[in-house]
């Protein structure tokens, strides 16, 4: 049974790929929101109602006051061969101890849905998932999205970015047509194409999120200017130094002018562009 600061998550077999990647990013000084990594074993104990585990969880959750993001970090997830993207639930804007525990259980359950199990079997990962969990401070994202450090479909050596207003789920889950941007690996902006971002995922005051409609002209306004594109280029360059030049798949967010790295994984065989991406 284990719960450690995210920056101390080192063993992917205990804390899962996502937690370990974020831990390495934090140790390298990348702008990752701080958090706690819960081992799969700890999560199993919580789910089975183990009293000691629940007491320990209460102490942890008390330290992490404020809005949280609760994400799965399943063992074997985010390996180079299988991204597992979208197979496990993420709970955003979780407030308080009880809701946090409930969110952890929901995330654990989502690893056991039929589709998640079928996906694991297809990827040869076995049918019994081991789900570790990350509790992280929620970034109050004004703008968020994904970044690929090489073209996920053609493999071209350039940076591809998709962006939308609010939390990044609208981009990741294909709820909007995101803006798309192309940059050279040296940071020269090649193309900026405005999408139609008529929904922004925003947090609700008492927990959870809602889909805020975005009116024109904001919906068609490019959300990233040149200063933000430079910040993202610095971010990906920093990732190169930390993780090597193996292509990255990043989730990022801006709160004001501050950029945050929310997730980093190697680009897998399976492209992960949002559903509405024009590149497909």
């Amino acid at each position: 049974m284990d719960a450690v600061l995210l920056r101390d998550a080192i063993d992917a077999n205990v804390f899962g790929g996502k937690a370990v990647q974020l831990g390495a990013a934090l140790r390298a000084g990348l702008p990752v929101p701080d958090g706690i990594a819960l081992s799969a074993c700890f999560v199993n104990a919580l789910v089975s109602g183990n009293n000691a585990a629940r007491c320990a969880f209460k102490d942890i959750a008390e330290q992490m006051d404020g809005a949280l993001a609760v994400r799965s970090s399943a063992i074997g997830e985010d390996s180079k061969d299988a991204s597992f993207a979208g197979q496990h639930a993420t709970k955003l804007n979780v407030h308080g101890i009880e809701p946090a525990l409930f969110a952890v259980i929901e995330v654990w359950k989502s690893g056991r849905t039929e589709t998640a199990v079928a996906y694991r079997e297809r990827m040869g990962a076995g049918s019994e998932p081991q789900v570790a969990v990350v509790l992280q401070r929620l970034v109050q994202a004004d703008i968020a999205g994904v970044l690929f450090s090489c073209h996920p479909v053609t493999g071209a050596d350039e940076i591809i970015i998709e962006a939308g207003w609010g939390l990044g789920e609208s981009v990741v889950q294909g709820m909007i047509i995101p803006d798309s941007y192309r940059m050279t690996r040296t940071g020269v902006v090649l193309e900026r194409v405005a999408g139609s971002k008529d929904i922004a995922i925003r947090k609700l005051p008492n927990g959870g999120t809602w889909q805020e409609p975005v009116a024109l002209p904001l919906a068609r306004r490019l959300c990233l200017g040149y200063p933000q594109l430079r910040s993202l280029h610095e971010l990906v360059t920093h990732c190169d130094k930390t993780f090597g030049v193996e292509p990255h798949d990043l989730e990022w967010a801006f709160q004001g002018s501050q950029v945050f790295l929310l997730q980093r994984r190697p680009i897998t065989r399976i492209g992960r562009l949002s559903k509405n991406c024009a590149l497909r």
Partner: protein
């Protein structure tokens, strides 16, 4: 320029002064650049004011103000002390048919002089100039554009009053809606139908020269084909140069230096030329005498002589409506744009700008500062201005700001000539700007029937010059508005639908001139009609059926 953003990131629109402010979405489909916003309103006011005084109207001008870059205007009344003089001027203008001498002056002096100045300025290739000479050239372009905006609007009265007078009188005499009788004016605005002697000359030269026909239909890039045509020996080369010299620097779809010129979209120029060559020299359709006779018969006998006279005046003056823009600011702005893009390219080369066109996001004062080495506004800020402008359409702005529009005051108290001209102006302005009051419903979009006829085809939604290349022959063009500069793409289309504008709007006139069904002022056509869908346009009833 005022710009305001609410806490949720949405733009807010506040009236820029007391009174009523109407949105001009007809001439300016997108926000003004800061460059144009600094030049346009004062020059427009000066030109308008000159005409209003000469024709004795009791208005002083249009006060144009930018709100978030969108153009709003308020009517400025003439000062009381001027009114007696205006009444006298109106009487004289009507008695002398002042518009006729204005048109003579336009044809004999103003237009030829403007063309000479345009050609002289555009013969300078800005890319070859030293930095100092380029700065001086830009200064000349700004000065030229300012004069040309003023020139355009100095001819507003001559272009608008005879047509407004005709519409107002015939409506009164017959009780017919203007859409029912406006088509009798078709055929008198040849250039609105893309009909110009330079194009006819080129078409004739190409018809006589099989080699140039092969060149025209080759697969080479459009820019290269146009350059090759210019380089042809003999008649084709000189005719191509004569035509391209006139149309290349025209803005394609607006009056703003920030928007593309024809030569930046060579495919559009080439397609227009291919269609013209295929159709042969255009023969303007004469309005059948029976059509005029039918209308005349509905006019009470005692007004029929006046009807004949008003119809003759309206027909005679009709072409000035488009010509005054095409040979003034539509062209001058394109020349200024060419110079500014050359300067922008130099700034990009030294890392001072992200894109050449971003230099047009500067007002002239800022450009002068940049030319003398100022550090601000920096590249990021200018890109930000461009992004903001690119996201906004005129349709995003409220139709009016401030006090709700009210009907014009009664004209009873005015002397007859002043009353007649004020009525003519009001009618023309309404016919230019007023959208339809018809309401769309599921399956049908409704607007003002501007040009009769029925056509079923593929709807092509075009939001600006960047999309002109998508137009295919036989398409139904669906767009927010068109301007004089749009003419170059019109030979390809078979019906025209707009969100804004009335019976005297550019779109209404060109659809009549081309004899294609036209529906204008639909308000929501561009949001209701899907790109690529099949639609049936009924220019008689003003309805578009979604098939």
């Amino acid at each position: 320029m005022s710009s305001a953003t609410a806490s949720d990131g949405q733009l807010t629109f506040e009236a820029p002064g007391p009174g009523t402010w109407l949105l001009d979405s007809v001439h300016m489909p997108r926000p003004f650049t800061r460059f144009q916003a600094a030049i346009h309103p004062p020059a427009l006011y000066a030109g308008f004011n000159e005409g209003l005084k000469r024709y004795g109207l009791i208005l002083d001008g249009l006060d144009y103000k930018m709100v978030n870059g969108l153009a709003y205007f308020a009517l400025v009344p003439a000062p009381d002390s001027d009114v007696p003089g205006r009444f006298a001027a109106a009487e004289k203008a009507v008695a002398e048919k002042l518009w006729r001498s204005d048109l003579q002056r336009w044809d004999a002096e103003v237009k030829p002089a403007a063309i000479r100045q345009h050609l002289a300025l555009q013969s300078v290739e800005p890319a070859t100039l030293s930095d100092e000479d380029l700065a001086r050239h830009i200064e000349r372009c700004i000065e030229h554009l300012t004069r040309m905006v003023k020139q355009h609007h100095a001819f507003n009265m001559a272009a608008m009053l005879p047509v407004g007078d005709f519409i107002a009188s015939v409506s009164q005499w017959t009780g017919l809606p203007p859409s029912a009788f406006m088509p009798v004016l078709r055929g008198f605005s040849p250039e609105s139908a893309g009909h110009m002697k330079e194009l006819d000359g080129l078409v004739a030269a190409i018809h006589a020269n099989p080699k140039s026909q092969a060149l025209l239909s080759s697969d080479a890039p459009a820019r290269q084909i146009l350059a090759s045509l210019r380089g042809e020996p003999g008649e084709v080369g000189s005719a191509a140069s004569a035509y391209l010299d006139i149309v290349s620097y025209r803005l394609l779809d607006s009056l703003d230096t920030g928007d593309a010129t024809a030569i930046e979209m060579p495919e559009v120029l080439l397609n227009g030329l291919r269609v013209a060559v295929e159709k042969g020299t255009m023969v303007l359709e004469n309005v059948p005498a029976s059509e005029v006779a039918t209308l005349r018969a509905r006019v009470p006998a005692e007004h029929q002589p006046a009807f004949d006279e008003l119809l003759a005046e309206a027909c005679h003056m009709s072409r000035l409506r488009d010509e005054r823009g095409l040979y003034s600011d539509v062209w001058a702005a394109g020349i200024a744009r060419h110079a500014l893009l050359a300067y922008g390219a130099r700034l990009v080369a030294i890392g001072r700008l992200h894109e050449p066109a971003h230099v047009i996001e500067c007002d002239p004062t800022e450009i002068r500062a940049l030319l003398s080495g100022a550090a601000n506004p920096d590249a990021d800020e200018l890109a930000e201005r461009a992004d903001e402008r690119a996201s906004l359409r005129a349709s995003d702005g409220p139709p009016f700001l401030g006090d709700p529009p009210h009907p014009p005051p009664p004209l009873d108290g005015l002397p007859p000539a002043a009353a007649r001209l004020m009525r003519a102006l009001g009618t023309a302005v309404d016919a230019l700007f007023a959208p339809s009051h018809a309401v769309s419903d599921a399956g049908t979009v409704r607007g003002t029937g501007a040009s009769p006829g029925l056509y079923t085809g593929t709807a092509r939604l075009v939001s600006g010059p960047a999309e002109f290349g998508r137009l295919q022959r036989g398409d139904v063009l669906v767009t927010s508005t068109t301007t004089e500069a749009f003419n170059i793409v019109l030979p390809m289309i078979s019906a025209l639908v707009t969100d804004t504008g009335g019976l005297l709007s550019h779109a209404a006139i060109v659809s009549r001139e081309f004899g294609i069904p036209g529906v204008v002022g639909c308000k929501d056509a561009t949001t209701r009609i899907a790109d690529g869908s099949r639609v049936t346009v009924n220019g008689t009833t003003g309805e578009i059926k979604l098939v």
